[in-house]
Structure formats: structure tokens, C-alpha cells
Amino acid sequence: MEKIRIEGIKLIGEFALVNLANHPRHQYALSRTCSILALNRINLPFISAICGSGRSQASCCVGVEEQARVKALLEEDPELTGYVEIVPSVGLLSVFPHQSSLRILGLSLHALGKAGLTVHGLTSSLAPLTFVLDHAVLDEAAAALEVFLELPPNQRPIRTHFHVTQSPIRRKEEPPNNR
């Protein structure tokens, strides 16, 4: 079978996945979750949510080192108690560029499903198609994808080894609404 040429596969992690489901006011609950985490300066490098239907669900990633704090913050909120589920160790695998192609999406899902890997979440953005997978299987997932997707010659899946965080340093004279 002919492989589809892509430019790269990137592996990032480790994160914890925060799932929110079945809340009767789903958009409000998601917004509240994001507000609580922003107030505590916790970044969300991945969010995927469907709202406004009877089957609303949301998933977002936080740094794995923030897991306990996030769990406590969300579980102690009276509006969110009972709606939050945390998956402790996940990573992000991005295939790029997706070219808005259903062939690339379909082949990626097929490859991951055939390998028996659990897809906890996915989303597309400008170039990457990003999957949330168990952190322990990121390399296995990349190998499964490479059966159907072809990387440029001499290129291997990239694993990022640096982590950027926004400094909590604040300045006294900064604008009142500064983020």
C-alpha cells in the first residue's frame, strides 16, 4: 500500500488529562475549569471539547507535575465536583501537516486502532493533527503510524526535550488586566 508523505511526527509529554463530562451546563463548566486553572497559573497545552448537545465532553491536558494540585482545585469546587476524571500519564503525538485531509486522519485512526492503542483525545489545528495517548506508548504509536505515513528521508519522530512555562513573576506597574 502506498504511504502518504508527511513532514513529521512530534511526541510531547508527560501530561495529565482532565476530562469533564455530563455536566448539565457544559460550556459554563468548561469555562469555570479554565478560569480556575488560569487563576492558579496552570497552562493547558491541549483542549478538545464538544458543547451544546446531549453528548458534551471536554478533555484538556495539564503538566503532570500539576496533577495533584489540579485534582484538588477542581474537586473542591462545588460546581465541578463529580464531573471531573483525571487520566494520570498521557502524551501528545502530533502528525504534521494534516493538509485538512480525511485520508491522513483516517489512516492515523486506523493505525492506532489496529495497534490496540487507546486514543484519549484528538484535535486538529493549523498544521498538526494531535492525538492524546498513554505516555508509555508514544513510541509504539509513532511506529504504528509510520506503517501508513512516510516521513522525509533520514527523519525520525521528534521528541521534544524542553518545556516552556510562563514565569509567575509579576510587576507592580503592570496593567491591571495583564495575563
Partner: protein
């Protein structure tokens, strides 16, 4: 080496908003065991020049994965029909669609590395009573799918929270 970046913004800077209308958000769920077959079916859909504007999915331990696919409205019926065919028995209730829908997407400096960006977008819309169909944030981008009727109010609300570059 450590680099410290401090953002100094009353309104969060973006590189501009993009909008698309005339779309449909098709939604369905699938169990992990069905993923391989679902993928094959979606690959075949791609052979007929159908494309996507956004895909998203969320899985819970206790529930099947919920998928959303934003496509052009002219492809809505075909997408629903083909997904029902792929998913088989019981799929007519499983596959649903909302249209006409629109998409607002934007990106900005280091959005993926900064806290508070998604909060600003969601809060701007929720506080103004604008319902969303879906939101996706990854890398430096935010994608918001809405009912087409809410696009104007959403643009207005987001423009208060985010700075668009002057042309």
C-alpha cells in the same frame, strides 16, 4: 539556560482572526474497538475529495469516544450517510449534525505555552451568552465552532478580549 518571558498586555495579542461560514459539525461516538474500522472508513471518505476544517475527539474511561468533524455544509449529508454506513447498526441515532455552523480561529505568540488564553476566549463568549458548539486549542491556535447565527456576537465578544493586528 533559562529564559523568562513576561507578557504585558491589557488585551491578548493575536496574529488576526480567520472566519469560515457555511459549515456543519457532524458528531458521533465510537468504542475503542471500532477505531480501526472507523479509520479505514474515514480514509475512504478522503478519497472522494472531501476535506475537514476541524476534527476533535474526547474519550472517557466509562464512555465511547465522542468525535466531532467540521465539514462544508454541502458535504453534510454525504458525511452523515457515510459515517452511518461505517458505524453500522444503531448508527442513525449515533450520528448527528448541527448546521449552519461557522468557525473562528486565531493564534498568537506562545499561546500554547501560556496560561489564561483559553480562559479569556471562553469567558468572553460565556459572559456574553454566546453558545459554542466546540472548542479546540493546541499548539498556538484556538478554534471555535459556533452556530452561524452567533458569529457576529462572538466576533464582537472576542475582540474585547483579544487584540487583532491593525491592517
Amino acid at each position: 539556560m533559562e529564559t523568562i518571558a513576561v507578557y504585558w498586555e491589557d488585551r491578548i495579542k493575536t496574529y488576526g482572526f480567520s472566519e469560515v461560514t457555511g459549515l456543519a459539525l457532524v458528531q458521533w461516538s465510537a468504542s475503542p474497538e471500532a477505531l480501526s474500522g472507523l479509520g479505514s472508513g474515514i480514509r475512504d471518505m478522503g478519497e472522494s475529495d472531501m476535506g475537514m476544517l476541524l476534527v476533535l475527539g474526547q474519550g472517557l474511561a466509562s464512555r465511547p469516544t465522542e468525535f466531532g468533524l467540521l465539514v462544508k455544509q454541502r458535504c453534510e449529508d454525504q458525511t452523515i450517510r457515510r459515517l452511518r454506513n461505517i458505524l453500522g447498526e444503531g448508527a442513525s441515532e449515533n450520528v448527528s449534525s448541527r448546521s449552519p455552523a461557522g468557525l473562528i480561529h486565531f493564534y498568537g505568540p506562545h499561546f500554547g505555552d501560556r496560561y489564561g488564553i483559553a480562559d479569556a476566549a471562553l469567558r468572553a463568549l460565556t459572559d456574553c451568552g454566546v453558545p459554542i458548539l466546540a472548542i479546540s486549542c493546541s499548539a498556538s491556535s484556538i478554534y471555535l465552532a459556533l452556530s452561524e447565527a452567533w458569529m457576529g456576537k462572538a466576533r464582537e465578544a472576542l475582540s474585547k478580549a483579544f487584540l487583532r493586528p491593525e491592517r
